[in-house]
Amino acid sequence: MTTFTMECFQNEYLAEGATEADAIVRITATQAPEAAADPAVARTEIIMLDVSGSMGLLKLRKARKAAEAAIDCLDEGVRFALIAGNHTATRLYPSIPGLALAVASPVTRQEAKYALARTRAGGGTAIGTWINLANGLIHDQPGINHAILLTDGDNASEEPEDLAAAVDAASGVFQCDCRGVGTDWRVDELRSISTALMGTVDVVAQPDDLAADFESIMRHSMGRRVASVNVRLWTPAGARVGFVKQVAPDILDLSQARIEISELVGDYATGAWGNESRDYHVSIAVPPGAVDEEMLAGRITLRVDDQDAAQERIRVQWTDDMALSTRINRQVAHYTGQAELADAIQVGLQALDAGDLDVATDKLGRAVRLADESDNRETAELLAKVVDVEPATGKVTVKQKVETVDLFTLDTRSTRTKRVSR
């Protein structure tokens, strides 16, 4: 049994003429201890492994080991399949066409490992075909559907539109954690997949580290016990939803994935939940009100398995008391800063890649200050591998020699946020 709680942080006072209502909503799922023994969660796991020519025997061996580690983490009874991907997708296991998915048991885990051992590296990369195959296997499965995708190269064997269409079709069907091994793949490409499929993206620079990473992804996935949690947002007539973003533990913009329930109500799917807490930033544009006027700018209902689980209101009140209206809520300010930090890093790295050193220095310099101000040490450390900061003046310069892996790590982890206590 998992219980959900919701808290709302905001400064309800708006200055005269102001039209932006911002709130941070913290959702916390708590599993009763006996939940671990509860076998009732239906779930399906798909592992997509790149077997393109560039993987070569050495990387492929590590990828097999990683997949084996993930298979060992599958709980008994979990449905699963392995996909070998290159310019086309092949279902590696289960291999008999009549059966789409295997059911995890000592026998099927062993069978799957033998199938992994028979993989060979060859061909190109068309990730859209892998996602389409996974989608076909998983789309009618109830419960929690999740996939791991591993690649080592860019998506050269198909058009970007093919990948986009595949990702679009899979959106809402399964969540997908994406990993790039080495540094010959494109962060923006994998991030577009992981964002749309509500997963994480990360670089695994050393093939040796893949197994530990896959194990951790799969353990985390097995820990999720609630399949469907939606944030339902009501806004009054005349108001407009600016955005709905997950802002912790990492930034994930949900705005585009709104499901219209009615003219005033929309649902935002948040994926499957384990024992965890996440923060969401909701921004609503309201029509300007007169001083002392009060308004309900939004109502947030947490929908767990299509039932109302909790509710919070976003209230606004216009005031001419500057002391009230300029008191920015700490949470809202913090996450606004974290979003800007992620954006500064991504734009800065793109500029660096394009050879625009001025913009790169400016954006990465801004990122250094934002990371410092928000005490986001993890990001600050990653930035320190790419830029130098002169201690006396705070002047930021891009390092003469930057390891590609450090650029990839900074880029993929730019969306990880630091949380502040209340």
């Binding site: 077997v51 009874g77 008999i96 066409p97 026998v107 062993q110 069978e111 060979r120 061909g123």
Partner: protein
């Protein structure tokens, strides 16, 4: 006057012609003139153990049968070994024969074991069986002294235990799962061949198999072999069907597993209106009728998952 097809170029040939008028290829007996089973010579061998049956034929173009097969059965447990001696090497017929016998000698005693064997146990047995087969082939000849390479053979071996199938292979002899449901038959093994390596890189299979060295194998058993650990395939079967093992003398002619399933008449096997030996003969005859360029060997074992054994997949689907 009877008209036949040239097995090489498919041009019509007069039955009395010794050579094709079109491509000049030597003609052998037409299908209807093909002799009935000739025991003992190795030209045509049949073994029928009721729950598994094997047929091996030298084909229509090769003077000798360099394939070998060995099968064993106890209740619903079956062991199958098929080997294809590599024609360009010294004494390929001996190589395949000793390999098949040595492998079966490892697998057969396990059929009497009443313990539930796991996929891991079966795989370990297959690895050992292929290891013994390799030792046996190595023992019959290292350096032959002339230009020929030492005796060499492929091997595909399977253990079927109820609904668990485990297969090991080195070279291009194959295992198929054949189902009476269209689209549900499939190749189980991966060949160790140039063609397979090319297909893995994205080449069109049809184009690849037109290349002259497509059939060159990349792994084999023999004194000069460096890697003979079998690739293992293990599957759990949920529907009735047929496990087919065969040499390239069969699969060269039939691209799709569905075609093989219809030739084998899996429906009749499932219904028990046809026996495995009949099915095996149908497959061999089809290969001969299609040209019979190579030795052809097949083994057929019906698989009937016990309906009383709980099927975990369907349980989970409920």
């Amino acid at each position: 006057m009877t008209v036949h097809q040239c097995p090489s170029c498919a041009a019509p040939v007069d039955a009395s012609d010794l050579f094709c008028e079109s491509c000049g290829c030597r003609q052998v007996e037409p299908p209807d003139a093909h002799p009935a089973p000739r025991g003992g010579t190795g030209h045509h061998v049949e073994v029928d153990l009721a729950t598994v049956a094997a047929v091996s034929d030298r084909g229509r173009r090769h003077p000798d049968n360099e394939d070998a097969t060995a099968i064993a059965a106890r209740h619903d447990r079956v062991a199958i070994v098929i080997c294809d001696g590599v024609s360009t090497t010294d004494r390929p017929d001996e190589a395949s024969a000793v390999a098949a016998a040595a492998a079966l000698a490892v697998l057969e005693p396990s059929l009497d074991d009443h313990r539930e064997t796991t996929a891991g146990d079966a795989a370990a047995l297959l690895v050992e069986a292929v290891d013994r087969a390799q030792a046996a082939v190595r023992a019959i000849g290292g350096d032959s002294g002339d230009d020929r390479e030492p005796p060499s053979t492929t091997i595909v071996a399977a253990l079927a235990d109820g609904r668990s199938l485990t297969i090991g292979n080195v070279g291009d002899s194959r295992a198929y799962w054949l189902s009476n449901v269209p689209g549900e038959s499939c190749l189980l093994t991966t060949d160790d061949s140039n063609a397979e390596s090319l297909i893995a890189t994205g080449a069109d299979p049809r184009a690849v198999y037109g290349e002259p060295d497509a059939h060159a194998i990349t792994r084999w058993l023999g004194a000069d072999a460096t890697d003979w650990r079998p690739a293992i395939t293990a599957v759990t079967i949920h529907q009735p069907g047929v496990l087919l093992l065969c040499t390239d003398g069969l699969w060269n002619y039939f691209e799709s597993a569905d075609d093989l399933a219809s030739i084998a008449d899996v429906t009749a096997i499932d219904d028990r209106t046809a026996s495995p030996i009949e099915s095996a003969r149908r497959l061999v005859h089809a290969a001969l009728a299609a040209g019979g360029h190579d030795n052809v060997t097949v083994a057929v074992a019906p698989v009937r998952p016990n309906p009383h054994q709980p099927d975990r997949a369907t349980e989970a689907d409920r």
